[in-house]
Symmetry: C2
Subunit: 327 residues, 2 copies
């Protein structure tokens, strides 16, 4: 399917709207929310400063610095975090909703959201879809926004995280995804290798492996997606990654994929063991597989656009992973 036909069939929300025109420009409004864990006031201030330096109109959610009455790992109650997320998305002047950090907790919000109302507010004043950004635990939101709203999203390091402060590579890459058009853009992982050669086209989906596995019983997982599946994780032992992959396989998500792109496995112990696991399990699905595409929790992690179509070529002539286009 070409991008043109995809556009024609998406009468209301054009998930390829960012191929020709950048998602954001200076002056646009971005709403900061914390659907998962709690960060410090200092990290929030730094995050706001960074996005304001890019000329954006940053509005911070009311509950972003709230503690949770039970759990130190959550930023505010479920109701408070959900309210910030919903308020941000429903804001008619919002252009993007930026998750300032991950951790754990986004999946706790999903069943209480009025998705019809969210869908009715998915378009910006210019008619293009609003943009959700974030990674790690925010994978739960990427999945729900894809299935429920069918908007494009950006899987990217978050401004409240130390890596965003510490890595110019991360900041430059996020800025380009926000302020430049996506069409034809190549995703170049500095250490990418081919595990299984081949070519594939399809919608980019996925994110954090543990979060994808944790959502397999949820309503939004009833459709096993398909397309080019991105997977990464952090701080997990090999046997756990094994279990997450087996869970995805048993749910049909790996068999549905047209290609598989593995990102970084930061703090996941012996990388050779993780690679051996991937080499044992993934060739059976008969689709191209890339190793170490450089997104996820790497200190210089690259960003990945999700719910847009793209093309993966892993051939003798080299690797090419790009947004938009046709096979």
């Amino acid at each position: 399917m070409t991008v043109a036909t995809v556009r024609a069939s998406a009468a209301v929300i054009d998930r390829h709207a960012y191929l020709d025109a950048a998602p954001l420009q200076p002056g646009d409004r971005v709403r900061f929310v914390a659907p998962s864990g709690l960060g410090s006031a200092e990290s929030l201030e730094r995050a706001v400063g960074a996005y304001r330096d890019w000329g954006l109109d940053v509005v911070v959610g009311e509950h972003v610095l709230d503690p949770h009455p039970r759990a130190s790992y959550l930023a505010g109650t479920d109701d408070a975090r959900r309210q910030d997320l919903v308020d941000a998305w429903l804001d008619p002047d919002a252009d993007a909703v930026v998750c300032v950090r991950g951790g754990y907790g986004a999946m706790r919000l999903l069943d209480g959201i009025d998705w019809e109302r969210m869908r009715g507010a998915a378009l910006r004043r210019d008619g293009r879809p609003k943009l959700l950004t974030g990674s790690s635990d925010i994978t739960a939101l990427h999945e729900a926004f894809r299935v429920r709203l069918d908007v494009p999203t950006l899987f990217c390091p978050m401004p409240g995280n130390d890596v965003f402060r510490d890595s110019a590579t991360i900041r430059d890459d996020v800025r380009r995804w926000l302020f430049e058009p996506w069409g034809g853009r190549e995703l170049v992982g500095p250490k990418t290798e081919v595990l299984v050669p081949g070519v594939a086209a399809g919608r980019f989906t996925g994110g954090n492996l543990a979060l994808l596995a944790g959502g397999l019983g949820a309503p939004e997982a009833r459709d096993p997606a398909g397309g080019i599946l991105f997977l990464e994780d952090v701080d997990e032992e090999t046997y756990r990654l094994d279990g997450f992959l087996v869970a995805l396989a048993r749910a049909g998500r790996l068999a549905a994929a047209s290609g598989i792109v593995l990102g970084s496995w930061h703090k996941c112990g012996d990388l050779a063991a993780v690679r051996a696991l991937a080499e044992e399990m993934l060739p059976a699905f008969g689709v191209p597989v890339l190793w170490e595409q450089g997104f996820g929790h790497d200190p210089d992690a690259l960003s990945i656009p999700l719910n847009v179509d793209g093309v993966l070529r892993a051939e003798d002539g080299g690797i090419r992973l790009s947004v938009g286009g046709v096979l």
Copy 2:
């Protein structure tokens, strides 16, 4: 539903066959298998000795001490572990299949099993169903055997584990479940408390929380079970337990339960934090909930029969959790 009507509807496999007569007697054949991790020859020898001391005819699977070519956490290849499990179950002289240890790996075997053939071999020579025993990672087998074969199983500490060697409480309890009838037997947790009062009846299901969450996308999870749900875990941080519970909730498994019985949370950090999580999440389901019923990974963990009906009474007059009977 009374036990009598349950029996009438189970024409072929009577999952309540052990209520009136003990599962095993001296001379019965038990087949030892290792569907998950690899144990030492010494621990296997000790396990065999213990069961032979009970007068059982122990037959050890061919691959129980095999290493896995990739992963030190697996006992033999998937094919080898699966073959041992299937061979054991298909043995017409087998009375029970005993998993000697857990770890990780049982879920890797499930999709390659011919369940029709397993179902055809589910009865012993005396017409009663064969008995599967084990815990922890073996939860994946308990779930599959319940859904695919509808046989009773025993969630119990395994003979290759150190706790079985070290705890007379464990050995005595396992021995009683194997050599005494189950009907009317009370499950008495030494530290059990009521989190939510009430009465419930239903089929006992569940086991290790992480394993249950990991199976939510799998074919056997399409029926959300119902009945009295047992949950325990080991060596997990609170936020992970939170995620597993949310995953079960989002899949409908908690809402389907008529009662919830929490076991031990061994090495799960601050027990007060785990309890606060349970107290926050579980009352919403409107069913009785017990705290610390003493099964799981506790050094003196009690055994729990699964896929048999039972009754839970958590009232002012005290706690009663028993096998069989009517409300």
